[in-house]
C-alpha cells in the first residue's frame, strides 16, 4: 500500500481561523503533493476535538485509507491523546500520527496574520516530513506477579506486609535479625499523643506471624535480585545457616530502617563508657528494660541535661524526631522523680506535627530551657555557647544526647542490587521529591520509613501504607502490565560492546550480553529517556519514535527558512 497522508487543519473556532489564513495553509500544503510525490488529503475542519470532529476524523481515516495522519491543531498537552484514540478506533497505528501545534505556537503568539500563517505552514510541512519516517509500534502485554517482597521487619515493613497480604497476594517479609520488631521494640512508650504503648508493637508482630499470607524470613538477607515491575527474581540467604531461598515477586518494599549516630563522631565530643553520658536510644532501652532511668550506681539522677541536634550540622539534615523524643524523656524523668532538675539545651525546636507543640509546651514548663548555638561534651561536663554568645559549662549528674539518625550501612548494597539512587546523605532518593515520595527510580521498588529519611513512627507507618497503595493499584492480580513502547533498541551490528550505555542508564535497563559481546536493552524496564542514545560513541542505539531520521526530518523543515 502506498503512503497516503491525511492533514487536517483545525480552525479551533476563531482561535486559529481568525489568526492564520486557513485557505492559504490548505492550498500551500496541498501543493506539496507534487513536490514530494506523495498522496495527500488536506482539509480544514472547524473543531476537530468536538464529538462531531472526532467522528469526522475517524471516518476520513477509514474512507481515504490513510497511512499517516497529521493534525494541525493545539498543544499536544490538550489533545494529543484525543487524536491518538481516534487513530486506534479507526484502525490506524497511533504512532503513525503527529499533532502540530499551530494554536499556541502560531495563532496565539504572532500578531501578524501572514507571518503566523507562514510559520504554521512550515510547522505542518515539518510534521509531514516527520510522520513519513514514523514506524508503527505495537504494545505488548506482560504477565505480572502480584506477590511482594518486603525487606525489614520493623514497624514500617510489618505495616506494609499487613496492608498487602491477602488471598490473592502473598508477602515475603525478610528480617536480618532473629526477631521482628526493629527499633521500636526497645521503646517503653511511644509518644503519649499517639496513645499507645510498646504492647501494640507486640500485637503487630503477632498479627504478622499469624497472617497466613505473610511468610516471614528472620535471620535472612536479600542476596540477589533481578527483574522489573511485575517480575522480580529473588534469592534470599539465611545469615546463620547460609541456606538460600529462591522467590518470585512483582514488587519490593524496602524498609530497612536507620541507626543512631555515635555522638563521639561529632562536635569534638569526648567521653568514655564510665561517664554518665547516654544517647537517647540507650535511655529508651534502659527505661524499657528496668523501668527506671538511673546512673551507673543505680541512683536516680538529681540533675539531667538534654542536648538537642548532636551532629545535625555535620550530617546536613534535621533528624526530625529528636525534639519530640527528648520531650518524652523529660516526661519519663519527671514521672520518675519530680525533683530531678532538667536543663534542655536546644538549637531549633522542630515539632512539625499538629499535636507536637502542645505536648512540648506542657512538658517544658517543668524544664529549664536554654537556647544554644553549639555544645561539646567533655567527660561529665557539657560546654556550650548560648544564643547570646555567652560561653557556659554545666556539670549535671547525667547527660542525654539526641544524636542524628544515620542511614543504614547496608544502603549501598541495596542501592546497588535494586538499582535505586541514594540521596547525598545516604538515605534513599524518591523518584520525585514532591509527588512520588515513596517510589524510586526503579519501577516496582518502594522505600518507606527511616531508610527514606529520618522520620517518626507515624510517618513510617503512613509511608508503609502509601507503598501498599501504590502496589495494590499497580499490580492487580490477574492483570497484565503494558510496558512503554517508545524504548531504546541497540543495533547489534554497530555495537562495539563498550558498555558506556550501562553506566548512563539510571533505570538499569541495559545489560551486557557476554556471549555476543554487546549491550542489550530490557524493554520492560526502559522508559525511553534517550540518555543512552546520546552516550553511544558508535551511534548504535536509537529510541523508537524518536529516531535520528525522524528528528532530523522534523527539524530540517522547521528550520528551513531560518
Amino acid at each position: 500500500m502506498s503512503d497516503k497522508i491525511g492533514i487536517y487543519v483545525c480552525e479551533c473556532g476563531p482561535n486559529i481561523a481568525s489568526k492564520v489564513d486557513i485557505e492559504r495553509i490548505v492550498a500551500e500544503i496541498s501543493a506539496l503533493e507534487d513536490m514530494k510525490d506523495i498522496e495527500l488529503v488536506v482539509k480544514p475542519y472547524k473543531l476537530l476535538c468536538s464529538v462531531a470532529g472526532k467522528a469526522y476524523l475517524e471516518e476520513e481515516i477509514k474512507a481515504n485509507n490513510l497511512t499517516h495522519l497529521v493534525c494541525a491543531a493545539c498543544s499536544p498537552r490538550d489533545h494529543d491523546s484525543t487524536f491518538k484514540e481516534v487513530c486506534k478506533k479507526a484502525g490506524l497505528n497511533p504512532y503513525m500520527y503527529k499533532i502540530v501545534n499551530i494554536r499556541e505556537q502560531c495563532a496565539w503568539i504572532i500578531s501578524d496574520k501572514e507571518e503566523a500563517t507562514d510559520k504554521a505552514i512550515q510547522y505542518i510541512h515539518s510534521g509531514i516530513d516527520r510522520v513519513l519516517y514514523q514506524e508503527p509500534l505495537i504494545e505488548k502485554q506482560l504477565e505480572s506477579n502480584p506477590d511482594v517482597l518486603v525487606i525489614g521487619g520493623g514497624i514500617a515493613g510489618m505495616e506494609s506486609a499487613l496492608n498487602l497480604a491477602g488471598k490473592n497476594r502473598r508477602v515475603f517479609l525478610v528480617e536480618r535479625a532473629e526477631e521482628l520488631g526493629g527499633k521500636t521494640v526497645h521503646f517503653k512508650k511511644l509518644l503519649p499523643r499517639q496513645g499507645i504503648t510498646a504492647s501494640s508493637i507486640q500485637n503487630k508482630i503477632s498479627e504478622v506471624n499469624k497472617n497466613p499470607f505473610i511468610k516471614v524470613f528472620t535471620s535472612t538477607e536479600l542476596d540477589k535480585i533481578v527483574g522489573f515491575l511485575g517480575n522480580f527474581e529473588i534469592i534470599l540467604k539465611n545469615n546463620q545457616s547460609g541456606e538460600e531461598t529462591e522467590l518470585l515477586a512483582g514488587a519490593v518494599v524496602l524498609a530497612n530502617g536507620s541507626k543512631e549516630a555515635d555522638p563521639l563522631d561529632f562536635q569534638g565530643n569526648e567521653y568514655t563508657q564510665d561517664d554518665e553520658v547516654y544517647t537517647a536510644l540507650e535511655i529508651e532501652k534502659m527505661y524499657n528494660e528496668t523501668g527506671k532511668i538511673t546512673l551507673k550506681n543505680g541512683e536516680i539522677p538529681n540533675s539531667v541535661a538534654l542536648v538537642h541536634c548532636i551532629g545535625r550540622k555535620e550530617v546536613g539534615y534535621c533528624s526530625k524526631i529528636c525534639c519530640n523524643y527528648l520531650v518524652k524523656i523529660a516526661d519519663y524523668l519527671k514521672e520518675q522523680s519530680e525533683k530531678t532538675e532538667i536543663t534542655d539545651l536546644y538549637d531549633d525546636i522542630c515539632v512539625p506535627d499538629k499535636e507536637d507543640q502542645e505536648y512540648y509546651e506542657k512538658v517544658m514548663t517543668q524544664v529549664e530551657s536554654v537556647r544554644i548555638i553549639n555544645s561539646r561534651v567533655e567527660g561529665n561536663k557539657l560546654h556550650y555557647t548560648e544564643i547570646s554568645g555567652k560561653e557556659s559549662v554545666l556539670k549535671p549528674d547525667m547527660i542525654i544526647l539526641a544524636s542524628a539518625l544515620l542511614p543504614s550501612e547496608e544502603n549501598v548494597h541495596f542501592a546497588d542490587i535494586l538499582n535505586i539512587d541514594q540521596h547525598e546523605s545516604g538515605f534513599f532518593l524518591e523518584s520525585h521529591i514532591k509527588i512520588k515520595p515513596v517510589s524510586t527510580n526503579t519501577d516496582g521498588v518502594f522505600v518507606v520509613g527511616s531508610t527514606r529519611g529520618a522520620c517518626g513512627i507515624s510517618d513510617a507507618v503512613l509511608q508503609a501504607q502509601a507503598a501498599a497503595g501504590n502496589i495494590l493499584t499497580q499490580l492487580i492480580p490477574g492483570q497484565k502490565i503494558v510496558p512503554e513502547v517508545m524504548v531504546s533498541e541497540i543495533l547489534e551490528a554497530y555495537c562495539t560492546g563498550c558498555q558506556t550505555c550501562l553506566e548512563v542508564c539510571v533505570f538499569g535497563a541495559i545489560y551486557f550480553d557476554e556471549e555476543r559481546g554487546i549491550s542489550v536493552v530490557n524493554e520492560a524496564i526502559c522508559r525511553g529517556c534517550g540518555t543512552c542514545v546520546g552516550s553511544c560513541p558508535s551511534g548504535s542505539i536509537r529510541t523508537r519514535h524518536f529516531t535520528n531520521p525522524q528528528i532530523y526530518q522534523e527539524v530540517k523543515e522547521a528550520l528551513r527558512k531560518c
Partner: protein
C-alpha cells in the same frame, strides 16, 4: 454502578488528585468533587515549589490534564457534598453541582467572554490583589479552562435582562443561562476527604500592621506576585504596582502561638521566597526574622543553608510575640527582641508574613455532613489510639493532606496513597 467499584474524593488539591489517579488506574470509578471552578488546590497558587525550585505549574498541570482526560474520573467542579448516608462499602452520597452557566464541553477557554463583562469583583483566589469579572477564570492556566458566572453578581441572572455581552462575545454558544443547579446522587464504597487548608487572617495579629500598612504582605500574596500567571505576571512590586522594594523581611511563625502548632512548611517556603525575590530583583536585601527553624526532611536543611549563605540574612528573635511593626516616613520598622534580649529595629520596604495554616473554612460543615470528628484545632480527626492512621471515626471515610493537619506536599501524597491502600482493601473485602 457497583458501590464497591466507586470512590468519592472530596477536594482536588494534590492529595485528592493523586488519590483519584491511583484509584482510576486500578479501574475504580472516581467522583472528584471540588468546590471551586478549577482543580489543583493550593499548590497551583505557588509559582515554584521547594526544595528543587521546580515550576509548580509544570509539576501540577500534567496531573490536572490527566485527571480531566481520565475516563474513570468524573470531575465535579463548583460542587459540594450535601449528604452522606449508608455505610462503608455502600455510601449514599448527594452532591450539589452548582450551575456554571458555561457549557464545559462547548467552551474552548478562548477568553473572549470576560473582558466584555461590565461587573467587577475582587479576585480572592489572587488574594484580592486584582479584580475579576462576574464571568471569570481565577487565573491564566486555570483547569478546566472554562469560565464560571457568579450568579450573585451577573446582571442578567439578577434581572437586568438586557446584558448579553458575554453571550455575544462567545463564538461557541457556550454561555448557557438556563443551566440549573443539579442534585446528583451516587453510590460510593469509600470516601477520601482531602479538603485542604486556609491560612489565618493576618489582621488578627494587630501589631504586625497587616491591612494597615500597604508594605505588609502575606506569604500567599507574595506567591501570587512571584507567579508568572499572577496579577503582576511575576514582577515583584509593592502594592502601587510600580515600586520595587529595596529591602524585605520575612517574618517566620506568624500566628504560631495563636493556633498552637507549627505549620510545618513555612521555614522551607521562606527559603524559596528569598531565592525568588532575589532572582526577580538581584539588588534586593532580604532578612529572615526567625525563632526556631523547622526543616523536617533530608532535603530541607541544605536549602536553608544555601539561602543563608547567599540570599538572606537570618536574624534570631528571642520572643516572637514581642515583635511589632510600625510605619515611619513610608518605611516599615520592625521592632523585635534580639539574641541578647534587647530591643532592636530593622527598617524595610516590604514585610512578608508566613501566616499559619488553619483548617479550611467550612470544615465544621464538611465534618458534619460526613459524620466525622474534628480535632481541637478544627482539622479532621483521625483515629485516636492508633499510630499513623488516616482513618476517621466513620469506617470507610479517610482524612488526608492538610485537611488532617499542616504538612508539605510529599507528606500529603503519602497520606493520600495510604488512604488508597485502605480503600482498595476495604472494597476488596
Amino acid at each position: 454502578m457497583d458501590p464497591k467499584e466507586t470512590v468519592l474524593v472530596i477536594g482536588s488539591g494534590i492529595a485528592g488528585m493523586e488519590a483519584s489517579l491511583m484509584l482510576s488506574k486500578a479501574g475504580k470509578k472516581v467522583y472528584l468533587v471540588e468546590k471551586l471552578p478549577l482543580i489543583g488546590g493550593n499548590v497551583i497558587k505557588t509559582g515554584e515549589s521547594f526544595p528543587n525550585m521546580e515550576c509548580s505549574t509544570c509539576l501540577v498541570a500534567p496531573i490536572q490534564q490527566e485527571i480531566l482526560q481520565d475516563k474513570n474520573i468524573e470531575v465535579l467542579t463548583v460542587s459540594n457534598v450535601q449528604s452522606v448516608g449508608g455505610e462503608a462499602g455502600n455510601f449514599d452520597v448527594t452532591i450539589l453541582k452548582k450551575a456554571r452557566y458555561v457549557n464545559i464541553s462547548a467552551c474552548l477557554g478562548c477568553g473572549m467572554c470576560y473582558p466584555v463583562c461590565p461587573v467587577s469583583q475582587p479576585n480572592n483566589w489572587e488574594q484580592g490583589l486584582i479584580e475579576k469579572k462576574a464571568i471569570y477564570v481565577e487565573c491564566a492556566g486555570s483547569l478546566p479552562n472554562v469560565p464560571v458566572i457568579d450568579s450573585k453578581l451577573c446582571l442578567r441572572l439578577n434581572g437586568t435582562e438586557e446584558c448579553n455581552l458575554c453571550t455575544e462575545a462567545c463564538m461557541f454558544a457556550a454561555i448557557d443561562f438556563s443551566e440549573q443547579d443539579e442534585l446528583i446522587e451516587i453510590k460510593a464504597g469509600a470516601i477520601i476527604a482531602a479538603t485542604g487548608f486556609d491560612t489565618i487572617d493576618a489582621t488578627e495579629i494587630e501589631q504586625l500592621g497587616y491591612g494597615k500598612y500597604p508594605g505588609v504582605f502575606t506569604a500567599y500574596e507574595l506567591e501570587r506576585l512571584l507567579a508568572s500567571n499572577g496579577p503582576t505576571e511575576g514582577k515583584l512590586r509593592l502594592r502601587d504596582g510600580e515600586t520595587k522594594p529595596e529591602t524585605a523581611a520575612i517574618i517566620h511563625c506568624t500566628g504560631r502561638d495563636l493556633v498552637g502548632y507549627c505549620s510545618n512548611v513555612c521555614c522551607s517556603y521562606a527559603a524559596r521566597h528569598a531565592h525568588f525575590m532575589k532572582e526577580k530583583l538581584p539588588e534586593i536585601k532580604i532578612y529572615d526574622i526567625y525563632t526556631d527553624l523547622c526543616l523536617p526532611d533530608k532535603h530541607y536543611q541544605k536549602l536553608n543553608t544555601e539561602i543563608r549563605k547567599t540570599k538572606s540574612t537570618y536574624i534570631y528573635q528571642s520572643e516572637p510575640d514581642k515583635l511589632n511593626i510600625e510605619e515611619i516616613n513610608g518605611k516599615l520598622k520592625i521592632n523585635y527582641l534580639d539574641n541578647q534580649g534587647t530591643t532592636s529595629g530593622l527598617e524595610v520596604d516590604m514585610v512578608i508574613l508566613t501566616t499559619a495554616i488553619k483548617p479550611a473554612s467550612g470544615m465544621p460543615e464538611i465534618a458534619d455532613i460526613l459524620g466525622i470528628n474534628l480535632d481541637k484545632y478544627g482539622f479532621l480527626q483521625t483515629q485516636e489510639g492508633s499510630i499513623g492512621s488516616i482513618c476517621t471515626n466513620r469506617s470507610g471515610i479517610y482524612a488526608v493532606g492538610c485537611a488532617e493537619g499542616p504538612k508539605d506536599i510529599p507528606s500529603s501524597v503519602v497520606q493520600s496513597s495510604a488512604a488508597v491502600a485502605q480503600v482498595m482493601n476495604l472494597l476488596e473485602s
